[in-house]
Symmetry: C2
Subunit: 100 residues, 2 copies
C-alpha cells in the first residue's frame, strides 16, 4: 500500500543523525538494493551537473537504462529529486518546457 510508504517517509523525517540514518537504511535494505538506490542517487547528482550520460554510465559502472530513468525524473516539472538537489547545492538542469 501507498499508506505504508507515507508512514515510512514520516519516520525518516524524524531522523536527524546521519550515522543513524545510514545504519537504518542498511538494515532495512538488502545489500544489492542499497547499491542500486545509492547508484541512482549518484546518477541524478551527475546528471544535474550536466555530465554526458555515457560518461556517467562508465564512471559508475552502470547501464544506460538507469540513466534514462533518472533523466526522466529530472525533466518532470514537479520533481522532488530536483527540489532536493537544489537544496543540497547542486544546480539541476531546468525542467522540460514542452511539458505534458
Amino acid at each position: 500500500m501507498k499508506r505504508s510508504l507515507d508512514e515510512l517517509a514520516e519516520t525518516l523525517t524524524h531522523i536527524d543523525d546521519r550515522e543513524l540514518m545510514a545504519r537504518f537504511l542498511q538494515e532495512l535494505l538488502t545489500a544489492r538494493e542499497a547499491e542500486r538506490i545509492s547508484g541512482r542517487w549518484e546518477i541524478v547528482k551527475r546528471l544535474s551537473e550536466g555530465l554526458p550520460q555515457r560518461r556517467i554510465a562508465e564512471e559508475l559502472g552502470l547501464s544506460l537504462c538507469n540513466i534514462t530513468r533518472g533523466s526522466r525524473e529530472l525533466r518532470r516539472r514537479d520533481s522532488a529529486i530536483r527540489t532536493i538537489l537544489e537544496r543540497e547545492g547542486y544546480t539541476p538542469i531546468p525542467p522540460d518546457e514542452s511539458g505534458p
Copy 2:
C-alpha cells in the same frame, strides 16, 4: 560503494517535510522496491508489538522469509531499527541477551 549510501543518508536527514520525503522515495525507488521496503517496515513494526509471525505474514500478504529477516535485525543489540521504533512510540521486544 558504501560512501554513496552515506551521502544519501545525510541528504535524507535534511528533509523535514513528510510529503516531500514521500515523493522523493517514490521517484528514487521502483514501484516494487517501494512495496518491498515499506513491507519490511510494516513487518518490524508488527514484530515489535509482539504479533505472531504467521499472522503478520497473513495480514501483509508476505512470506515468512521476510519476517525472519526482520526479526533477526530486531534481535541485534545495536539495531538502528529498534532505536527508531522506540522513538516512534513502538515498544520493541528486548534484545537477545545471549548475544554474540
